[in-house]
């Protein structure tokens, strides 16, 4: 009796049975796709014979010489940086504005966070309608303000298309930053501010010397989580522009997807997605190390 008792505790105290289901599923979801992608990147689909053929380094050589890939990478980085800068600055400004107990502010904060649970594909369609050159709200407003000629189709003009997509992105995800920054602002201690007030510091000095440094961990987490999502942007470009006009909004994810499923270049698509994966991993891990983000 006593022996089984001891044995039961010993067995149940091992983390293995608790973690096993998770490990099995994650291996299927991460390790397997990784290995499969590597394997696929050395092969190419032959549509006529409906088989895969070993092509050695051909996909990797093609990648190196593919101007379309380099342009997609450029677009991805541009999208990444512009969205991140806007979302951080706007998010911080709005968080500081709304971080007050004024009439109705609780409801305002709840309303703002609604954008986060709308499917991005549907938000993209929503902005597609609002940016339509014939009857859209956005061209109308820009036209009235004299910023843009009415007849300019935003999403079909190469210099404006990325901005047109970014409007949807920034609209949907700035509230994410607002919520996180607001949670950070709530947790700041009051004493340093009181001391600074007595010393006669200006509000800008307090923001620069107190708020920003104390918020650095919160900002790092927000940048990390949003950055991971930004680098693999797919939904908005797929529904709003399909990468066009030309290559103006082609991102790496979209390019990889199209190569695989539209052009049946399975091997090349896998190569592209692998490159995207490796880049996210490297950037995120450097970021985690540098900013000491911990879970």
């Amino acid at each position: 009796m006593a022996v089984t008792q001891v044995k039961r505790i010993a067995i149940s105290d091992s983390p293995i049975p608790w973690l096993l289901p998770l490990v099995c599923l994650l291996v299927v979801f991460t390790i397997y796709p990784l290995i499969y992608n590597v394997w696929l990147s050395f092969h190419e689909f032959v549509p006529k014979k409906r088989t895969l053929k070993f092509v050695g380094m051909a996909n990797w050589v093609q990648l190196w010489n593919d101007t379309r890939f380099w342009s997609a990478l450029g677009v991805t980085f541009l999208y990444f940086f512009i969205a991140l800068v806007f979302e951080i600055i706007l998010g911080m400004a709005i968080a500081m504005l709304l971080d007050a107990e004024l009439p109705g502010f609780g409801m305002l904060r709840a309303t703002l966070s609604m954008t986060l649970v709308i499917p991005p594909a549907i938000a993209g369609m929503m902005f597609l309608l609002m940016e339509d050159p014939q009857f859209g709200v956005l061209p109308y407003l820009l036209n009235t303000m004299g910023l843009l000629d009415k007849s300019t189709p935003i999403l079909a003009t190469s210099s404006l298309a990325l901005a047109g997509v970014l409007v949807a992105e920034i609209w949907q995800w700035t509230p994410f930053m607002v919520l996180i920054f607001m949670a950070g602002l709530r947790s700041l201690p009051a004493e340093p501010y009181e001391a600074a007030m007595i010393d006669g510091a200006s509000s800008f000095q307090m923001f620069r010397r107190l708020t920003l440094p104390m918020m650095s961990k919160v900002i790092a987490v927000a940048v990390l989580l949003r950055g991971i999502d930004l680098f693999r942007v797919f939904d908005y470009v797929f529904v709003m522009t399909s990468g066009g006009p030309g290559t103006a909004t082609y991102t790496v994810s979209l390019y990889a997807w199209q190569q695989t499923f539209s052009f049946l270049k399975w091997g090349y698509g896998a190569t592209l997605s692998l490159v995207s994966l490796v880049m996210v991993m490297i950037m995120a891990n450097i970021f985690i190390k540098v900013f000491k983000v911990r879970w």
Binding site: L22, L40, T111, V117, P119, I122, M197, I228, F231
Partner: protein, 291 residues
């Protein structure tokens, strides 16, 4: 900090204006769902005044609300009644949530309570799986699903959505379990209770609220997911976001019907905000920030 009445007034006005600007697209979209095409395609665009109609909803959902006959919209020639598609979304999102929660509560409990070598590295590994670009998973999954006849099946999409939500669920639940003092576990262990009994009888009931919040977030991430469903299904099932993209056809876009679908898909958004507002930040940051 003390602020003068002037600043408070300015701040109130500023706050309302900013949120109104962010809310406008949601309002506009919903209003389009209630418009006739002449009010949708009008220039200058009509912001607030239009002739309301429920025709778009009747067409999309294939039901008559008593304001005229219901006809199915047929972009691309297919039957487009939406009710089955909403059902697809609900089945996929709820079943994948169940899967993620069962696997994640077990793992999160041991990560929160048991000290073993490599625990920190393990947590980092779980987090790193969240960094996989969906396209890097979707491509190999397409081929393995093809091999096991999982393409275009509920089981396939449920599995992939469950897997997709695992890192979030594990890290979030771990942070909720960490909040429950481990002294409770230890005294129960001394009394001879097994880990399993403690988990079932003590920790799970105490973490109910956190588990519910995690479940709601998993549900919404599955509800909004696009790329996997687009890639791994054909005709048997389609979730709402994927259907929305098929409304753009070579013969034009059925904007009114699209908007009706969009408006219907925003309903879960309202519910979620009501249910998990308190836990939303924690969920979105996977528990790395506690509120």
């Amino acid at each position: 900090m003390h602020q003068s009445t002037g600043i408070r007034t300015l701040r109130t006005i500023g706050g309302w204006l900013v949120v109104a600007a962010f809310f406008f697209p949601i309002y506009f979209w919903t209003s389009v769902a209630f418009r006739n095409s002449k009010d949708i395609f009008n220039w200058p665009p009509k912001f607030f005044v239009f002739e309301p109609t429920v025709k778009n909803f009747e067409q999309v959902f294939g039901v008559s609300l008593g304001f005229g006959a219901a006809e199915a919209v047929t972009p691309g020639g297919g039957n487009f009644y939406m009710a089955p598609r909403l059902w697809d979304s609900i089945v996929v999102a709820s079943m994948s949530t169940v899967l993620a929660i069962i696997v994640a509560t077990l793992a999160a409990y041991s990560l929160s309570r048991m000290n073993f070598r490599g625990r920190h590295e393990f947590v980092n590994w779980v987090l790193s799986t969240r960094m996989m670009p969906p396209v890097a998973v979707a491509i190999p999954m397409f081929f393995i699903f093809k091999q096991f006849s999982l393409l275009d099946t509920y089981l396939g999409v449920i599995l992939i959505h469950g897997l997709m939500n695992l890192p979030l669920a594990v890290l979030l639940l771990k942070s909720f379990f960490d909040d429950i003092p481990s002294e409770i576990d230890e005294s129960a262990l001394l009394d001879g209770a097994s880990r399993w009994t403690i988990f079932r009888r003590i920790v799970l009931p105490m973490a109910k609220g956190g588990i519910a919040a995690t479940a709601v977030l998993c549900f919404i991430f599955s509800w909004t997911e696009f790329l996997f469903v687009l890639t791994l299904t054909q005709t048997n099932l389609k979730t709402v976001p994927v259907v929305s993209s098929t409304f753009v056809t070579s013969i034009g876009t059925a904007w009114g019907n699209m908007a009706a679908l969009g408006a219907a898909s925003i309903v879960p958004a309202f519910i979620v905000i009501l249910l998990v507002q308190r836990h939303l930040v924690r969920g979105l940051t996977m528990g790395s920030l506690k509120q």
